[in-house]
Amino acid sequence: MTAPLPISLHVNGERVEAQVLPRLNLADFLREHLKLTGTHVGCEHGVCGACTVRVDGEIVRSCLTLAVQTQGSCVETIEGLSDSGEITDLQNAFRERNALQCGFCTPGMLIAAQDLLKHEKEPDRAQIREHLSGNYCRCTGYQAIIDAVEETAGMRRERKP
C-alpha cells in the first residue's frame, strides 16, 4: 500500500485526477505533477510560508498537507488567484511599493495577505504583521509588504464603501 493511490480534486477550478504516492505532499504534487510552480517550497516543515495555498477556501501549508488528504477538495494556488483577477490590486500594490525583490516569498505572502483582506476590511499594521507572521521574507524587511497590504485594504474600502 505504499503504492500510488487515486485522488480526485479541483485545482484552480479544473478537475484533476491523479495517482500519487502517500508520501507526496501537496506542494510537490502541484509543482511536479501539475507544473504549477508558483507554489514555492522553502523549509518543508511549516516555518517559512512560501508554500501557502488555499484548500476549500482556507489558507494552509501545502508542505504539511499530503496530496492524498486533498481528495475531493478545491485547491487554489497563486496561479488561480492571479489569473482570476482576484488579487490584481494587491499585486499592483506589491509592485508599486517594492514589496518584493527576489520574489520567492511573494506567492505565499500574497495568498496570506488576501486571506486577511477577505476577513478584515480595515486591518491595522499590527494585525497585518500578525497575519503574515508565518511568512518569511529575506529581502524587503517587511515594511513595504505591510505598506502594500494596508494600501490595498484602503483602496478596496474606497471602491466598496
Binding site: 502517500p22 508520501r23 505532499n25 511549516g46 482556507e58 494552509v60 501549508r61 488528504q69 508565518g134
Partner: protein, 293 residues
C-alpha cells in the same frame, strides 16, 4: 526534506481507526491535522510505516458546554477554538493561548487533540490542560478511559496513550464566575514554539489570590506546575513575598539548554512571566514595574 515512504489508510470511523491501530501497533501513527506530525516526518525525526488518517471523522469535531463541563472533540482545529463563542465564555485561557499557536495557515489544519497527543514540551496546549485541570478522553480496544491532564504528559512527545488508543476528546470544567487567567510566552517570532511560557488559572478575591495554578512550558520535558506559586496564595502579595517566590521558582526549575536559550535565560524569563502573571491577576502594575527578577 521529504517524508520517507509509508502506507496510508483513511479511517472510516473511530472504531475502524482503533482496529487499524491494534493491527499496526507501534508501526502506525495517527494523522489528524498533521501540523506537528508532518514536520517531524519531513525532518525524518519520525518514519512510521503506516499513517492512519482520522482527519475526516466528523464525530471527533466540535465544542459543547453542558452542566459546567466543556467538551472539545479531538479534531477541533485551533482556528475553531479561536472562533468559538462558547470557549470565549467558558474557557478564555484556552482561547488566549491558541492565538499564540503558530500562524493562521497552521491553525486552519492543526487540531487540539493532535497537539496534545504530540506533546511537544514547548507547545501551549499541554500546559493549558494541566492549568485547567482537564481530562483527556482516550478510546481503545477495551473501551474508553479518562486520564487527568496532570498524569497524561510523560516526557518529550510522550503521553499516557498506548499505541492502540485514540485521543477522542478533552473535558474541562467551565470557568467559574470568579476565576481569572493569565497566559504569556516568549518566542523569537509571533507563533514560534515558546522559549518559555506560562498558563495560569486563578481565583482572585479581595485583592488576594485565593487559588493559583501556574503551569510553565518550555522549561522541562513536560508541563511543569510551579510549586513556588503556592506561596503567593491566600495572603497579601508584597514585593518582598514576590521576590521570595521568584527565588523559590529559580531553585525549582531546571530548564534545558538548546539553540534558542540556555538554562539561566529560561529561568530568568520564567521569573519574568510569574511577575507579569501576579501583576496582571491582582491588577497591580507596580509589582511588574518594581519586580525585576
Amino acid at each position: 526534506m521529504k517524508a520517507s515512504a509509508f502506507s496510508y489508510v483513511r479511517a472510516t470511523s473511530v472504531g475502524n481507526a482503533i482496529e487499524l491501530l491494534v493491527a499496526h501497533g507501534e508501526r502506525a501513527r495517527v494523522l489528524a491535522g498533521g501540523q506537528s506530525l508532518m514536520p517531524a516526518m519531513n525532518l525524518r525525526l519520525l518514519a512510521p510505516e503506516w499513517i492512519v488518517d482520522i482527519g475526516r471523522l466528523s464525530e471527533l469535531r466540535g465544542i459543547s458546554v453542558s452542566g459546567g463541563l466543556v467538551t472539545i472533540g479531538a479534531l477541533t482545529r485551533h482556528a475553531d477554538v479561536l472562533n468559538s463563542p462558547e470557549l470565549a465564555a467558558h474557557a478564555p485561557l484556552l482561547r488566549q493561548a491558541t492565538a499564540h499557536i503558530a500562524h493562521p495557515a497552521i491553525r486552519n489544519r492543526g487540531t487540539i487533540g493532535g497537539s496534545l497527543a504530540h506533546a511537544d514540551p514547548a507547545s501551549e496546549m499541554p500546559a493549558c490542560m494541566v492549568a485547567l485541570d482537564a481530562t483527556i478522553v482516550a478510546r481503545g480496544p477495551a473501551g474508553e478511559r479518562r486520564i487527568p491532564a496532570t498524569e497524561f504528559f510523560c516526557g518529550i512527545c510522550q503521553t499516557a496513550l498506548s499505541a492502540s488508543e485514540l485521543l477522542v476528546a478533552i473535558e474541562l470544567p467551565a470557568a467559574a464566575r470568579n476565576s481569572s487567567h493569565f497566559f504569556g510566552e516568549f518566542a523569537r517570532r509571533q507563533g514560534d514554539y515558546a522559549i518559555v511560557g506560562l498558563a495560569a488559572l486563578a481565583v482572585v478575591e479581595n485583592d488576594r489570590l485565593n487559588d493559583l495554578r501556574a503551569v510553565f512550558f518550555g522549561v522541562s520535558d513536560r508541563p511543569q506546575p510551579a510549586k513556588a506559586a503556592a506561596s503567593l496564595v491566600k495572603k497579601a502579595v508584597t514585593p518582598a513575598s514576590l521576590s521570595r517566590a521568584l527565588e523559590a521558582l529559580g531553585e525549582e526549575l531546571d530548564p534545558p539548554e538548546d539553540q534558542q536559550a540556555n538554562g539561566a535565560m529560561r529561568r530568568h524569563l520564567a521569573k519574568l512571566l510569574l511577575v507579569r502573571c501576579a501583576s496582571k491577576l491582582l491588577d497591580r502594575p507596580e509589582l511588574h514595574a518594581g519586580g525585576r527578577p
